[in-house]
Amino acid sequence: MARIKIALAGEGGHGVQSVAKILVEAGYEAGKQVLYIPNFGVEQRGGVSIAFCQIADEKIGEPRYSKADIVIMVSDRAIDRCSTYVDENTTVIYDSSVCTKKPEVKAKRIIPVNANEIANTNPELGARVFNIIILGVILEATKVLDVEDIKSAMEHALGKKFEAKPELRTKNHKALEVGMNLLKEAAV
Amino acid sequence: MANVLEVKPDLAQAQCAEVGASKFCPGCGHGTILKTLAQVIDELNLNERAVFGCDIGCSLLSWNYMNIDTVQTHHGRTTPVIYGVTRANPGTVGIAYMGDGGGLAIGSQHLVNASVRGENMLILLANNTNYGMTGGQMSPTTMPGQVTETTPYGRDCSITGKPAKGAEMIAAIADPEKSYVARSTMGNVRGLKKVLKAALENVANGGFSFVEVLSVCPNNWRTNNIKTLERLKEMEEFFEVKEFITPAKKEEV
């Protein structure tokens, strides 16, 4: 791995930036070079929220890139906004249980996952861990970080909540696992 | 006659001897206000604690008038410079000196917010009802019907709104616990001295003070001595001269 460029996009309030923060924190703790730019518009809520992440072995130059290696789209508007970051070397992952359309792009691969549906139907999960399922998907898709790195970054970000409600930890770990398996299954 | 000219003016310690004759126009009110301020600084022994900031407009001419540390600022910006000083160096007795334009027009947001926050400083506003330095335009405090360069047919309040009453406004928003707000007049120097003393004592004790002084501008008003004082009397009727807020008396220890 020289450098992997990830764009993660969803609606404001989806928890896209929280997930991106955990991802890059894990990368940092694992001793990688990381660079993360949250796309922040004027609106704090309700807009498309994009996280531009890079994880690399060597010092990262450009903070923003033209094309990403992996683009994750979890809403229709995310598809509209982020198709510009896709080229024939990009893997596109979108949530088919949120989006009402397929990304019409020329990509290396286009993979549908139904993270939202699973979050809402699996009694062990719930709507609030939707973004963690997506994190599991990214983890499996990028394969540059270890699941343990992610778990410790989750402790860093959510540790206080976990201490107050230990079942949240179980739930989040489960969501991560579900997300990873989701991509394994989808990729078959 | 020669003897009279040889009599040295009675200068306060806080007035610069080197500046010599007043740089203000003949009959201007600034000299009286500043001289009274200097006397009060002497009486309260604040010469080394005071920092004097002067606005742009005629008040800028005071930049080397006072024998205390002085900084000239920009038009309307004396208030933030002085609270910048007192915030960074508590114990300083900050004095921001300005006219009605600098205080109530271009610098009004600073005046309002400094009052609300209770910044530890004296805002001293000389109200002569026009922009003197720039040639006598209408200011927020120009009197109804008053002729200025931008109201050549007299101030028509149906177009311009009514004159701003600075002291009333500040009295309405300043913290009564720690603020001193008053309007005085150069027509009563003894009264002015009393007000400035109370204002500076309050600042020296950590409070916020606002003093508006009714002043005169015979040069731009185009008035002779008699007419000037008549105009000042009219102003004293229009702008109420009184203490609006005096800080809550501290328990004597």
Binding site: V24, V34, V42, I60, P63 | W63, Q72, A88
Partner: protein
Amino acid sequence: MVKKLITQDTRMFLTGNEVIAYAANAAEAEFMYGYPITPQNEIMHTWCKLLPKTEAGFLQTEDEISAGFSTLGGILAGKRAFTATAGPGNVIMQDAQSMAEMMRLPFVCAVMQRGGPSTATVIYAQQETRLTCFGGNGEGFRIVYSTAGHQDLYDYMIKAFNTAWKYRFPTYMLADGYQGKMREPVTLYDPASRGISMVPTEAFLRAEGKIGVDRDATHLRNTFNLEEELMEHLDVYKEEYERISPEIEEYFEYKAEDAEVLVIAHGIVARSAVTAIDELRAKGIKAGLFRPITIRPLPVNPMRAAVKRAKQVLFTESANGQLAQMCLEKLYGLTTPYSTLFKMGVGVTGDDIVSKVEAMVKEPATV
């Protein structure tokens, strides 16, 4: 005396705005005056969060006009004070910056550029380059460091205080919304561990001693009666500015020695250029970078030397040639042709530069 938080080398993963607050503390800054504007808010947030530990001061003012002027007040009181702003805030703060320039006050400001003109975007741009260098009604007797990432933010924020207090010209750290909001690893350190000692501050007002006995009263002014009086002052400023410029000028070159296509870029765009140059070199195209770190004053001699060596020059910015205009004036007389890649208020990526340089190789610039 403020308490310094960083006493030994500390590797951290921070946003740029956080880095700036830590750097100001490392530089023993005593007071921040500020007003909220995106994308610099987290400088204030971090500064405020750290106050119980640092024992420094903070004032949230009513606008950027007062943030600028109260910063001058803090400096007049002899404190190592600073502020930070962006976009429209930088515009209305020019009033105070101009006073600092005239009165030679060691004003320090972090500018986190956002899109312009007007409110535009809260995200990113390089459109305050000219404003920061030459804003206000004056001659631009200012020192501006343009940073390209978090280590720069830390290094140059510390340096800005020393430059300002040593030379008494307003000093800026010009960064942008990307640098403010992005996260990357950075090493924080105690300046003393790098042999950096902070230039001592002194009070402009209320110096020691009794007025009229130990010292005269201080009278500071920015207004003059006569044209000639003004020019006498400004001639001195100009002479000093030009004399100290060689001590201040900084630049960074990357593979510029044998570059046939020389990219001239500042700030974060220069980082994209590094990515592009590696890619271009891998394709056999001899590209290189000249990055002025001080964009005011510009490192003119090394820039002219690099341009002279190259066959073509590419100016690229997230603005419509604000740096290019400043450089071109200083490159007068050279004949190396140039081309431009300007994206107003938008990030320039490595790919953008690669495509542009490839096109220039195929069809050389003629201007």
